[in-house]
């Protein structure tokens, strides 16, 4: 590891930028709030400093002529304090409402055009596109599309920070979080890790490349993974022996998974649970947590055997299955095997 700054951080214009590039609408909105806060604080700071300077001059000990009689009574003092309190409370609640609205927008985005997986790892960013394309320390996205990121970590906590979008999301191992943005300007933007993650934290850098739609399609074609996430997941599903039990190819009985996504599953414990991504993920890593009704808790945990990206691919495969897919597959597949 050399001590130079990693070359994959995109160049920005030379010189000092006190306000980072605005590459999303949200960025502009956050900046407005920021300017309002700067304005309000500047006014109050000037009042405080101004009063100190004014009183300091007027009531300096050497000034014998200043009128020092008629000090405010305790009652007046209380009234002034309450007035100050009320004024500050009003200002503060205004800012609270404004900032909270923007924050909620940042969490509850519109329907995304695509979901891209981001996995943080000491000290790199690994990206998986829905069509299976993978990249490291770079995230290519089309302009003007709502992009949802599904972020997680392979090891310690990292934080996905793109100043130009004014977004930051902690990347926490063991959980998947989402973030979204819609970039409005094609270009290359900086990606930092913002949560301290060990030796080379300051080298955990990358770039977000926002491209015109046509360029993005051309880029995808050039990458040419040829395999979608789900296809890649299917291969893993077979390679790790999942299909052996779940597709009924061995004597061990395990629940069939085609069409399970989005369905309610009855559990051994008597509860019923919705089979969402978290459920599928938990079932891979902690199979004893939710045992399906009617089955023995015999599945081994795959924690530590699969990387976060592989888990995401397997989940994508299971999600892609429609009811009855495996029945068809076994009809076709048996022909294949008998050859």
């Amino acid at each position: 590891m050399n001590d130079e700054v990693a070359p994959y951080l995109p160049e920005v214009e030379k010189g000092l930028h006190l306000i980072p590039t605005q590459a999303t609408e949200h960025a502009g909105q956050v900046d407005h709030l920021y300017f309002a806060l700067v304005g309000a604080s500047a006014i109050i700071l000037l009042m405080v400093v101004g009063l100190i300077a004014f009183f300091g001059f007027r009531y300096r000990a050497g000034n014998k002529t200043a009128n020092r009689s008629n000090l405010p009574s305790t009652r007046t003092e209380n009234r002034v304090e309450i007035a100050v309190l009320a004024a500050m409370l009003t200002v503060f609640m205004g800012f609270f409402a404004w900032a909270t609205t923007l924050y909620l927008d940042g969490y509850r985005g519109p329907e995304p055009a695509m979901t891209i997986d981001v996995v943080g790892k000491q000290w790199m960013w690994k990206i998986q596109h829905p069509d299976g394309t993978r990249e490291i320390n770079a995230l290519h996205v089309p302009v003007d599309e709502v992009i949802q990121l599904r972020v997680t970590s392979q090891d310690v906590i990292h934080s996905f920070f793109v100043p130009a979008f004014r977004i930051k999301r902690d990347v926490v191992p063991g959980t998947e979080k989402t973030a979204w943005f819609r970039a409005t300007e094609p270009g290359e933007y900086r990606l930092f890790c913002a949560e301290y993650c060990g030796s080379f934290h300051s080298r955990m850098l990358g770039k977000v490349v926002v491209m015109d739609r046509g360029d993005y399609q051309a880029w995808l074609t050039r990458q040419g993974s040829g395999r979608t996430l789900a296809t890649a997941g299917k291969q893993l599903f077979e390679a790790h022996g999942c299909s052996g039990c779940h597709m009924g190819k061995s004597s061990v009985r395990a629940p069939s998974l085609d069409g399970i996504y989005g369905r309610s599953v009855a559990l051994q414990s008597g509860e019923v649970i919705l089979a969402d991504e978290a459920y599928i993920r938990d079932s891979i890593l902690q199979p004893d947590k939710h045992v399906a009704a009617g089955y023995e808790p015999i599945m081994p945990s795959f924690a530590g055997q699969l990387t976060e990206e592989e888990i995401l691919r397997i989940v994508a495969y299971i999600k892609s299955l429609q009811p009855g897919d495996w029945v068809k597959a076994s009809v076709n597949g048996n022909e294949g095997e008998s050859q």
């Binding site: 405080v48 609270f96 310690v156 977004i167 913002a194 934290h201």
Partner: protein, 537 residues
């Protein structure tokens, strides 16, 4: 009383007993205060040295002064030392230890032996932690976030945590001592609403120490259990939850911020009233806002976690409470300013420190509002904006108050006056150096510079260079008092009992005070800060 006995009673606490055991086994709160002062000063300069190397490294975008790991160890040392071994004990254990009994008219703290033991716990725990951190190169940052601290930092994290755990008991001991002293040992006539605000502040601080520190201790134990025995509490690989650690950690560490700042607010109230020659504006409001801050301080810890993935609605509540906690602080700032109104202002070095505090605290407080504003926090969280904000509070405000208070009570503590001119120079150097160091950090933070980065993109360099140069000026502001205050111990003019004509019981006795503080029992008949009466006598 025989004349010899009377002489012995009026003898200053410093005049005899200079064998080593007279100091190391003393139960006199004034001497224990000195033991603490020496320890925290040593820790302060150690932490400061680490900061200077960090600032030197950041003069250039590349990593060229120390290695990446050494850099991470440096900011860990800086944070651990400054937070736990300097800021938390700073004012309570030095000025508080010395002044609290004097201000309430008592002979000593309620539990003098506990007081001495707390110093031993603190010093031994502190040295042990420093040794562990330095020799094994702990690089987790002072926050010890999991799972980095439990699974990935292959160093003496357990030893370091044990030291911090042990030091926690010293905080609790001090807290209990102060609470009991304030409740039970006030002089006749010294009702709650006649107490100096310094006592109020230390009292509130003690409450927070006693209530919050055990949570930290419990958290550290859990962390040690996970690291040593592999019990899954915080590490997701073991079935734990890393965010739980952040909740527990900040449940202590946010109130700890108020442990650090409240005593500073108390000091500044004493300083400003004395050099305005008038009572504080809104005494009751000041006392109640101290209590309000200590209560609300317990309800805002989640504002450190707005991007961590905690529940959205929890985030909203923590944001709301963070706005609320700013209200009593705003009242205090307003009242300090209003205290100047119709005063007779004397711009001594002490007053310069106090007014610097007000200015810096206003900036630090307002940028706290930026951080409470959710959408802005998402952008500036874990950037230099946050670094600048908490340094304005903890260094700009707190350390300034501490040094200002040290000057104000120096004649009382030592019986010597310091050179006023040099003190003014130092106060100005501190104010200018501090702003030069930390104001640029706000700017680079919003521009997108993440914290805890050893290397950084070139366009941030100009701000980093300003900041590093400022740190040099700031260092002068800290070193100067060290030199002239030590000088004054031998060559300074002898101090009269009340050189500032200040109100407060501590000024009614000799400088330095006799062993048992007062020769006569004290009674209080009027409100605090009665400068009218003093000046018209």
């Amino acid at each position: 009383m025989s004349e010899a006995a009377a002489n012995q009673a009026s003898e200053s606490y410093l005049s005899s007993g200079w064998r080593i055991r007279d100091w190391l086994l003393t139960t006199d709160h004034k001497r224990v205060a000195w033991l603490y002062t020496i320890s925290i000063t040593a820790f302060f300069f150690l932490g400061g040295l680490a900061a200077l190397v960090i600032r030197l490294e950041l003069m250039t975008p590349d990593g060229d002064v120390v290695s990446a790991d050494a850099y991470n160890q440096l900011f860990t040392i800086h944070g651990v030392v400054m937070v736990w071994f300097f800021l938390i004990p700073s004012i309570p254990n030095t000025l508080g230890n010395f002044l609290l009994p004097l201000m309430v008219g008592a002979k000593d703290l309620a539990f003098p032996k506990l007081n001495l033991i707390s110093w031993y716990i603190y010093t031994v725990g502190g040295l042990f932690t420093i040794a562990a951190v330095i020799t094994s190169g702990v690089d987790t940052g002072w926050t010890f976030y999991t799972p980095y601290s439990t699974q990935f930092a292959d160093r003496a994290v357990v030893a370091a945590l044990t030291g911090v755990f042990v030091v926690g008991f010293s905080s609790i001991a001090t807290g209990i001592n102060f609470i009991v002293t304030t409740h039970k040992m006030r002089a006749p006539g010294l009702t709650w609403f006649r107490l100096p605000l310094f006592v109020w502040a230390n009292y509130a601080t003690s409450l927070v120490m006693v209530l919050a520190t055990p949570v930290l201790s419990a958290t550290l134990i859990l962390l040690i259990l996970e690291r040593m025995m592999g019990i899954g509490i915080f590490d997701p690989a073991l079935g734990g939850d890393p965010i739980l650690f952040q909740h527990l950690f900040w449940f202590y560490s946010h109130p700890a911020v108020y442990i650090m700042i409240l005593p500073g607010m108390g000091v500044v109230s004493e300083l400003i009233t004395c050099f305005s020659r008038k009572t504080v504006f809104g005494y009751h409001g000041m006392a109640l806002s101290i209590l309000a801050i200590s209560v609300f301080g317990f309800l805002v810890w989640g504002h450190h976690m707005f991007v961590s993935g905690q529940s959205l609605y929890a985030g909203l509540m923590f944001s709301l409470f963070s706005f609320f906690v700013a209200l009593p602080s705003a009242i205090k700032t307003f009242n300090w300013t209003a205290t100047l109104y119709k005063g007779k202002l004397i711009f001594s070095a002490v007053m310069i420190y106090a007014l610097s505090f007000v200015g810096l605290f206003t900036i630090g407080g307002f940028t706290g509002i930026f951080l409470a504003s959710l959408a802005v926090d998402v952008h500036v969280h874990d950037t230099y904006f946050v670094v600048a904000h908490f340094h304005y509070i903890m260094v700009g405000s707190m350390v300034t108050a501490y040094i200002g208070g040290l000057h104000f009570w120096w004649p009382k503590m030592t019986g010597r006056m310091y050179p006023e001119l040099w003190a003014k120079v130092a106060a100005l150097a501190l104010f200018i150096g501090f702003n030069l160091t930390f104001f640029p950090q706000y700017l680079m933070g919003y521009a997108g510079m993440p914290r805890r980065y050893q290397t950084y993109p070139e366009d941030f360099q100009i701000l980093h260079v300003m900041s590093s140069l400022g740190a040099g000026v700031l260092a002068i502001g800290y070193l100067l008092p060290l030199v002239y205050l030590l000088w004054s111990l031998r060559w300074g003019k002898r101090a009269p009992p009340n050189p500032w004509r200040a109100a407060g019981l501590e000024w009614r006795t000799d400088s330095p005070p006799p062993k048992h503080n007062f020769l006569e029992p004290q009674t209080v008949t009027g409100p605090p800060y009665d400068y009218d009466t003093i000046d018209n006598k």
